[in-house]
Symmetry: C2
Subunit: 192 residues, 2 copies
């Protein structure tokens, strides 16, 4: 029973994540989540009594964990922080070109949509970015950057990636991410 | 007659811009545009036979001109490109804190919403960013940076600002923009 409950729960969260990617928060409806997940209506309210907000919360929470781990694993492939971060951005560019950039809730989209109307989800998105910043900052600290430098550079790197991704979408190519990757040694060698 | 037509036309574009800011592209309806602008229904179709897409197009086009001019005017206040760009970002941080950051169509929001579904508006948003990049690049060129360096740095600066703005929204403060401003001399002195 627990297993089947967990399966339904997972399926509902997963479906919510996919629909948020396609239609944003206000464009995602509970009926569509039920339809696409194949879960009975009653099970949605059983698992998520607070409805759509709770489902979105859990889907974002899951994206936070998944992407943080993905960043950590990716950075762990190189000892040198500069090489590690530069290669992380090159890989992001490759994923953009392969149209497989993102597998989860698109945080920037959600932030731009809900930051003024939903404090609970906004606060969660803040924590998502902080978790990513921490992953970059830890790598920088391991390379000898001070705590403050590491945090500022980590935030800068995330801002560059988020912004580059928006510019990539307008151009339908990954050039902006490649340009950002080239700036990394300039920023980090000087910062060190 | 021409004047009154132009007033109605302007009012419709202005109202569309405001509604795009509040509700995004799919959340903005023609009925709401008519209601908020006070324009008669017939005049909307007279001025904008293609309906919402055409209205959004013109509102984005107007944002492109306004923001490009705003960037140029702001950068013209300082001779040195580093000082000029750094102060532009400090001013953006102040505007964010005063909740007057943006007066027009929020381009990043629109891009994230429509990039996969509306090629005409996506292409226009690409031109908006290019126009902003050109404003930054011209300032850098005037300070002795090469053409290629200027374009890459201009794109990086815009990406940093766009990304920082998203992080600002999650935190409800302007710290990310202030952190980006501090990175400008690092990036530009090295790049020169």
């Amino acid at each position: 029973m627990v297993k089947s409950n967990n399966t339904t729960r997972n399926k509902l969260i997963e479906t919510t994540g996919k629909l948020l990617q396609l239609h944003g928060y206000s464009g995602t409806g509970l009926n569509e989540i039920i339809k696409q997940s194949g879960a009975p209506k009653g099970s949605l309210y059983y698992h998520f009594p607070e409805g759509k907000e709770q489902l979105a919360y859990e889907a974002i929470e899951r994206t936070k964990e998944n992407v943080t781990n993905f960043i950590k694993d990716s950075l762990a492939r190189y000892d040198d922080p500069i090489e590690a971060i530069q290669n992380f951005i090159y890989d992001s560019a490759k994923r953009f070109e392969a149209d497989s950039y993102f597998n989860g809730v698109p945080i920037a989209n959600i932030v731009l949509e809900i930051s003024k109307t939903n404090d609970r989800l906004r606060e969660l998105c803040r924590k998502v970015f902080e978790s990513w910043h921490e992953a970059f900052a830890d790598k920088l600290k391991s390379g000898g950057y001070s705590d403050e430098e590491s945090w500022d550079l980590a935030m800068t790197i995330n801002a560059m990636i988020q912004g580059a991704f928006v510019i990539c979408l307008t151009r339908q190519d990954s050039k902006p991410l490649l340009v950002m990757a080239e700036q990394i040694p300039v920023m980090l060698i000087k910062g060190k």
